[in-house]
């Protein structure tokens, strides 16, 4: 039996049998058959439920004459992300705002949930930032193909046709390195924040770890913003119109 958070224990208690049967049907043997749901998956699912509830609540209270606090917050966030993508891409950036907004809220809440005792940040495990980075990568590549068609591949060939032979491997490697750097940046910041808090907790249990938790909150906000900012920069590069 692995060490589980209380939410993971509840989910495993309810769904372990069906999930293990489902996994075995696709020839995947879970490491602990009585607890196929890991902490990371359970926390991500919790963040997903929380965000769906938040959006449903905001949607049901939308009003033009008397907007409430929740509507103001969402309008502020939406305007912030749309203004930033307009700065980088010019007009036509409004269709990317939903994806970027949800990505930012998901990463932000995933980072912050670790501060509450009894929960852990799913982004402190290496696979969750990898998932977010893969989503961002697939998104901007498909947007590039959608906007340019097959001519998107000309982006990889560099400025002149005879440079294409060396430019193509360099461009492919640099595109994959973007995914790697997004993943490692988010994971290392969250993991290092946890480690530093633990180290100081082992030295001085009272008072000092609170400073590091506050630092961790600041770093969570900044890293979520940086992830979305870099995704916007890559998107701008993919859908750019050659003048």
């Amino acid at each position: 039996m692995p060490e589980q958070l209380w939410f993971t224990a509840i989910l495993n208690h309810l769904f372990a049998a069906q999930l293990t049967a489902l996994l075995r049907a696709v020839h995947v043997e879970p490491q602990f058959p009585e607890a196929p749901i890991t902490n990371g998956v359970a926390m991500e699912f919790l963040v997903f439920l929380f965000l769906v509830a938040l959006f449903a609540m905001a949607r049901s209270r939308l009003s033009v004459e008397k907007p409430g606090a929740l509507q103001h917050t969402f309008e502020g966030l939406h305007g912030f992300i749309q203004g930033q993508s307009e700065e980088m891409m010019g007009h036509g950036s409004a269709e990317f705002t939903p994806f970027l907004l949800v990505l930012m809220l998901f990463i932000l809440i995933c980072n912050l949930i670790g501060v509450i005792p009894g929960f852990e940040s799913p982004t402190a495990l290496p696979v969750v930032p990898l998932g977010c980075a893969i989503c961002a990568f697939v998104y901007y590549q498909t947007q590039g193909f959608k906007h340019h068609g097959v001519a998107y591949l000309k982006h990889f060939m560099g400025p002149m046709w005879w440079l294409a032979i060396i430019m193509i491997p360099i461009e492919i490697i640099s595109h994959f390195a973007r995914m790697l750097s997004l993943t490692i940046r988010l994971f290392a910041n969250m993991y290092a924040g946890d480690m530093v808090t633990l180290v100081f907790f082992s030295l001085v249990p009272v008072g000092v770890p609170v400073i590091f938790l506050l630092l961790h909150v600041g770093v969570s906000l900044l890293q979520a913003y940086i992830f979305v900012l870099l995704t916007t920069v890559y998107l701008a590069g993919a859908v750019a119109e050659e003048h």
């Binding site: 750097s181 490692i184 940046r185 994971f187 290392a188 290092a192 900044l222 940086i226």
Partner: protein
Amino acid sequence: MRKLSYFFMAMSFLCFAMPALAQGGEAYATNWVAITAGFSMAIASAVCGLAQGRATAAAAEAMARNPAARPGIQFALILGLALIESLALYTLVIIFAKVVR
């Protein structure tokens, strides 16, 4: 006579290598991974600190010269700081991958 004394001096130098044949202490093994981890993280953090200092200094000077350009400069500063920080974090990730294993 001088050649003989040189010969004996050379022979005596060869005896300095004797401890290499002695029984090495089994209970004493230098933990090179920990030492290297400490040095590499120190170097990475030091160079990261220098780079971020230069970036911040340039941004502060630019904001002082042209306060109206503040949003653009602030944006470039945050982006640059995060990218430099991530380079020091790559070192930390390698350390965790090697020290934990």
